[in-house]
């Protein structure tokens, strides 16, 4: 059952979206002229995201789908995965034109949705160099949503319960429109985090990962804690799982002038501006080029005062380590690592040093760049 469209809400949305489009266009033009003005790009992304969210709220999943395409491209630009070249600029401006056409058609009642969606889907796929062979599947998926929306536009004006928006799925097209509403099951728990990290590690390393820890509860004595194991310059290190928010590939970061070499720059991670710390360089270890297996750990202090990201050579997996077996780390005087260590374990025939992240992140050296 398609969702009934509320004329008042629809009119409010059209007016709202119309007010954003000139600002998005202006932001894109400004950024194309001066790529240092990243804040205007973030503004364009925010307005596009708002159109995506508000359109699906008023019952226009097709429009949300179109805005979602543009949002995905803008996100790639904000995170530095895509440059603002002529092709990108042209495609974004065209998509904004098509969004505007859609809004105008909505007001005039002369809906040409199918042609608009086809144009957006096809132009996105050419822009992203996706094969023409997949166009039909992508179009069919998009039009499945479109049919539901068309039915809603024709629906009689009587109260009906909302129906979930059809999720769009296709081989290689951009992200689907939002799934139906749902409340998180049990996120935020330690096991959820372990599961997320395990999933990430498994995806990267397949079956050969050392991550063999069951996700069930640990022993009730709290003498064992889960740690994420990683390597730096050939040695094994660990940090407790609760202090890790995310593990990901190394993103493009924006360089910052007049900072030590170990600050590679800053990134915008879901609205948080984080420093990217080259952990090897910070600890005075031998420098190395970061490779395919290098990862970024987003870490935080227990009370959330500091959040930052550390680049490590490789994430090995997750292991339960017993607090009672922790030993005092031994190292020559002057070693820069030792002051930040909590202890060391012997794990699978190698010594694994455990970082005291509170000490590390709250150190004046790190804090000055937060």
């Amino acid at each position: 059952m398609p969702k009934k469209l509320d004329p008042k809400m629809l009119a409010s949305f059209v007016q709202e979206a119309h007010s954003y489009l000139p600002q998005i266009r202006e932001s894109l033009e400004t950024f194309q002229r001066d790529a240092t003005q990243r804040e205007v790009l973030e503004e364009a992304l925010r307005y596009t995201h708002t159109i995506k969210g508000a359109s699906v709220m008023v019952g226009l999943p097709v429009l949300s789908h179109m805005a979602n395409y543009a949002e995905g491209t803008l996100e790639e630009m904000v995170t530095g995965q895509r440059a603002m070249d002529t092709a990108c600029s042209t495609w974004l401006q065209q998509t904004m034109d098509q969004l505007e056409h859609y809004l105008d058609d909505l007001l005039s009642g002369d809906m040409q949705q199918q042609a608009l969606v086809a144009a957006v889907v096809q132009s996105l796929r050419r822009f992203k160099n996706l094969p023409e062979a997949g166009d039909m599947a992508a179009l069919k998926a998009a039009m499945g949503v479109q049919q539901e929306e068309a039915a809603a536009l024709e629906a009689p004006s009587q109260d009906q319960p909302n129906s979930p928006t059809t999720a769009v799925a296709s081989d290689d097209q951009a992200a689907p429109v939002p799934e139906p509403a749902s409340v998180a099951e049990t996120p935020g728990t330690l096991d959820a985090l372990v599961a997320a990290i395990d999933h990430d590690v498994h995806q990267v390393y397949g079956q050969n990962t050392k991550s063999t820890v069951p996700l069930g509860p640990l022993d009730g004595q709290s003498q064992t804690e889960r740690y994420v194991l990683f390597t730096l310059a050939g040695s094994c290190y660990a940090v407790p799982v609760p202090s890790i928010l995310e593990i990901g590939r190394i993103p493009h970061s924006t360089p910052v002038p007049n900072v030590p070499a170990w600050v590679r720059g800053v990134i915008n991670l879901r609205g948080e501006i984080l420093s990217v710390i080259d952990f090897r360089t910070f600890l005075g270890l031998e420098e190395a080029h970061h490779g395919e297996r290098s990862r970024m750990l987003v870490v935080k202090t227990a009370r959330d005062e500091i959040m930052t990201s550390l680049i490590v050579d490789q994430v090995m997996g997750i292991a339960p380590l017993s607090k009672t077996r922790m030993e005092t780390p031994a190292a020559p005087p002057g070693n820069k690592v030792v002051p930040y260590l909590h202890g060391a374990y012997e794990y699978e025939d190698q010594v694994c040093a455990v970082f005291d992240l509170e000490r590390l992140l709250l150190s004046p050296e790190v804090r000055q760049f937060e």
Partner: protein, 119 residues
């Protein structure tokens, strides 16, 4: 009767959420960005907030974290309501201390049930 603060930078979404929550009989107040949300949370003392994530100034994650680490506002129940629907977004949201996470478009019944459960 409880007080609910609804925060969203989209006027349309703000109206839709407010309209849905008006049926509960609770007192509804609104804010249009993150800074206003923090200010109203501190002065109006709502019992619950329905909080968008992507907003001007402070985003919803920052607002959530700030309020949950402040002794005077930490007991405000927070529902993140966002079209950021990736699992990692959901997980990130809950890490900020949110009490529930609902994605747009929300089911009215689900939003109302979550509000009832948290109040």
């Amino acid at each position: 009767m409880s007080k609910i603060l609804v925060v969203d930078d989209s006027p349309t979404t703000l109206k839709m959420v407010t309209k849905t929550l008006a049926t509960t009989g609770h007192h509804i107040i609104t804010a249009g960005d993150g800074d206003e949300a923090v200010q109203k949370a501190e002065t109006e003392h709502p019992d619950l907030m329905v909080l968008d994530v992507v907003m001007p100034h402070k985003n919803g994650y920052q607002v959530c974290r700030q309020l949950k680490t402040n002794a005077t506002t930490k007991n405000i129940k927070i529902i993140l309501l966002t079209s950021k629907d990736q699992q990692v977004d959901r997980f990130w949201g809950m890490k900020q201390g949110a009490d529930a996470y609902i994605t747009k478009p929300f089911e009215e019944a689900e939003l109302l049930a979550t509000v009832t459960k948290l109040l």
